[in-house]
């Protein structure tokens, strides 16, 4: 497995190199002008020229690209146009929040999916299925900005039991109980859609597994349905679910933008949106590159987990 990852490393690096170019080009192809955005409509042309020079935007594109790559090679992520601070600091700050939020949502989604699909398959009752179906449908059909508002309205305004937004004032570690309360609503909001989709996938996969002959064998041995689902069917159903999880991870990151806005959770989602609308090139570039890296990593990870779960799967393409 380590060997597999090692073999994949070069291709991953190639991807990042290609991505850096694609990102650089894409960011500049997008119409709009960082200087104009920064300076506003009332600024004089001289002012704009001066700002452009200060940001290095008067250089030819090739020079800009090479400079950026050179900086990257020295692990210098550059300075944000708008915020002025080091991109690395900004990203680091936002990353903590985003990671905490997405991981929490991911865990929540996985927990919800595991519990509800296992319940549905083990109990196999009409009403359980109907209730789950309905819940799933709502969770999939309602966009995050609706669920987010409803959650806030319910749990922060009408019954003020949880904060309506914001990050824990003392950070995540100092007082975990408080942090958890701040985290709960946004994480739930983010997890709902992904959790529901996962539940659907997993339930379907489990149902299919429950028709496999090995389940009949297990039943003939007197192993209870619950045990069969938990120890055998689940294991067989997981590989495909893991991939779905990998894909859902992308959805989570995408959804984070909205959730971060609704719950005032200053993370990378908000940062990237702000950076895009402000045409903050250095920040956008780094964030996108990071995003590509994360996706490549998640993909490799799901491959590895997939192969680990299913001994028959040949890792990485056909022989």
């Amino acid at each position: 497995m380590g060997a597999y990852l090692l073999r994949r490393l070069p291709s991953a690096l190639v991807v990042l190199a290609v991505a850096s170019f694609a990102i650089f080009a894409m960011v500049r192809l997008v119409p709009g002008d960082p200087v104009a955005t920064l300076a506003g409509p009332d600024a004089s042309p001289e002012a704009r020229a001066e700002i452009a020079a200060e940001l290095g935007l008067d250089q030819p594109l090739v020079t800009q690209y090479v400079t950026w790559l050179g900086q990257l090679a020295h692990l210098d992520l550059g300075t944000s146009y708008r915020i002025g601070g080091q991109v690395s600091d900004l990203v680091a700050d936002g990353a903590v929040n985003t990671i905490v939020l997405t991981i929490a949502a991911l865990l929540l989604a996985v927990a919800v999916a595991l519990v509800s699909s296992v319940l549905a398959v083990v109990l196999d009752k009409r009403w359980v299925n109907a209730a789950l179906s309905f819940g799933n449908t709502l969770a999939i059909a309602l966009p995050t900005f609706v669920t987010g508002l409803v959650l806030i309205l319910l749990f922060a305004v009408v019954f003020p039991v949880l904060p309506a937004g914001g990050t824990p004032p003392d950070g995540f570690i100092a007082r975990p109980d408080i942090a958890a309360q701040y985290l709960l609503l946004p994480a739930v909001c983010l997890a709902l859609g992904a959790g529901a989709a996962l539940t659907r996938f997993l339930t379907e996969a489990l149902r299919t597994e429950m028709r496999q002959p090995y389940v009949t064998t297990a039943r003939a041995l007197g192993i209870s349905r619950r045990r069969i689902v938990l120890t055998q069917a689940l294991r067989n159903a997981l590989p495909s679910t893991i991939t779905v999880l990998g894909i859902q991870f992308g959805t989570l990151l995408g959804g984070a933008v909205l959730v971060e806005a609704i719950f005032t959770w200053p993370g990378l989602g908000g940062l990237i949106e702000e950076a895009i609308s402000g045409r903050d090139y250095p920040l956008v570039q780094v964030l996108l590159l990071l995003s590509v890296a994360v996706f490549v990593a998640v993909q490799l990870l799901t491959d590895v987990v997939h192969a680990w779960l299913d001994p028959r799967v040949r890792i990485g393409g056909a022989a």
Binding site: G32, A43, I83, G85
Partner: protein, 496 residues
Amino acid sequence: SSAVGEAHRGGSESGPSDGGLLRIGSTSDIVPATIFTNSSDATNTLIGAVYDSLIDYPLDSLEPQPRLATSWEQADDGLSLTLQLRDDVKFHSGRDFTSKDVEFSIKTWADPTWTVQLQRTAAAITGFDTTDPHAITLTFDHPLSNVFDLLDMLPIIDSESIDELKQGKAYVGTGPFVFESWTPSSKLEFTRNDDYWGDEPHLDGIEVDIVSDPQAQVSQLRSGQLDLITGASNRDLETLGKDSKFSVTGFDGAAQQIYVGADLTNPNLDDLELRKAIAYAVDRERIVDEVFRGVGTPINLPWPDYSPAYDAAGNETYPYDPDQAKGIVTKLGDLPTLPLAYPAGNANYEQVAQIVQANLEAVGIKTELQPTEYSQFIKQLIGGTMGGLWILQHAYAHYTPSTLAVSAYPFNADKNASHFESAEYKRHAEAAWGAPSGDSPEAIENYQALNKDLLDNLFLIELALLHFQVASTPDVQDFTMSKRGELDFRATYLAD
């Protein structure tokens, strides 16, 4: 323990009028590179809290009041101004405030990279006599009718920390609150300046939370996490105003104007008659009532009623008169569909645009709405490539009228988004700016000429004058706003 319980401001034991942390919800974060452009609510709060200006305008007039400057004297030729400065003022760093700091602040503003509004005015100040640390004499290139606007807007900044200021690391002023920290896209923190030269502020501190989503601001206000919010939508403000648990405060001083711009390079819009038809066709009352929930005034000219350029009759030039508009359009014959752009992602603009579209449609002018991403919109505006109609807001009509003509891009006589060029307009604008005083009869004459230019040429069709409102819990007492749009918490206290 409960996060909600802790977030609710506990009753302060030291009596109703002292202490406490005021939590403000702001829509957009500060941008250090353009910290002096009044470009965001958080920026305004920061400037208002940390810095002092030399003079202050009251909200409803243009009569300068002393602040760091105790008195001033203007030369008769209008080419110089001497200010007496307070001698008991210290920067947060502990350094004494002197006339050198005034010079430094003005020179900073004159630097185009800061893209401040009155950069041209600041640049027109060429002489600084700082021999007396507590008095300064400024000499001008030419008379500046709006020099007091500059002195009102200009924050006195600390020269020693200018590099940190550029990076958003430090904001050192002489104001009532001391800047503590900035967490980008999250929050700003301030504490009371215990050595403040004026009355010591009551609040222990201020925390500005960046809450980009207007609805999240309302939710957090409702849930008690915030005490005051600046970004609620007009409708939410209306609802909150009716709720006894909240109070909504409006300020007349820092008004903005919403307008329909016309790009005269468009062959159809080049025709003044069509622009007139548009001016007659738009239902300004409806826009004010339905979109801005009555918090505004329909206008033809940008000025608020206390402005020396205010002209009540002028505001009646183009009343809502669809029939007249229709008549004009019929005369014009076939018209192609005109583009109508507005910055996307803003509900107010979207609604105004749709009403304008329906109004125009009703008189026979077809338009196509073009919601444009803000960055692109600005680029088109600056580049003068709008190509048709657009909807946007502008400001600075509440200052000395000449400020508008020299510093607001849509009105800029040299170059504007409408490609409106008129020697006469240019002359009037320059003359208004170059008048030695903002309210001299000579200046007022110029303003009337300007008003005529605006109404006769209609390259900008004003829709409404909008007032600024904030919502807060009733506990927040005695706060006000400066003409600059900065919330002023010098006297604020938190009641229980």
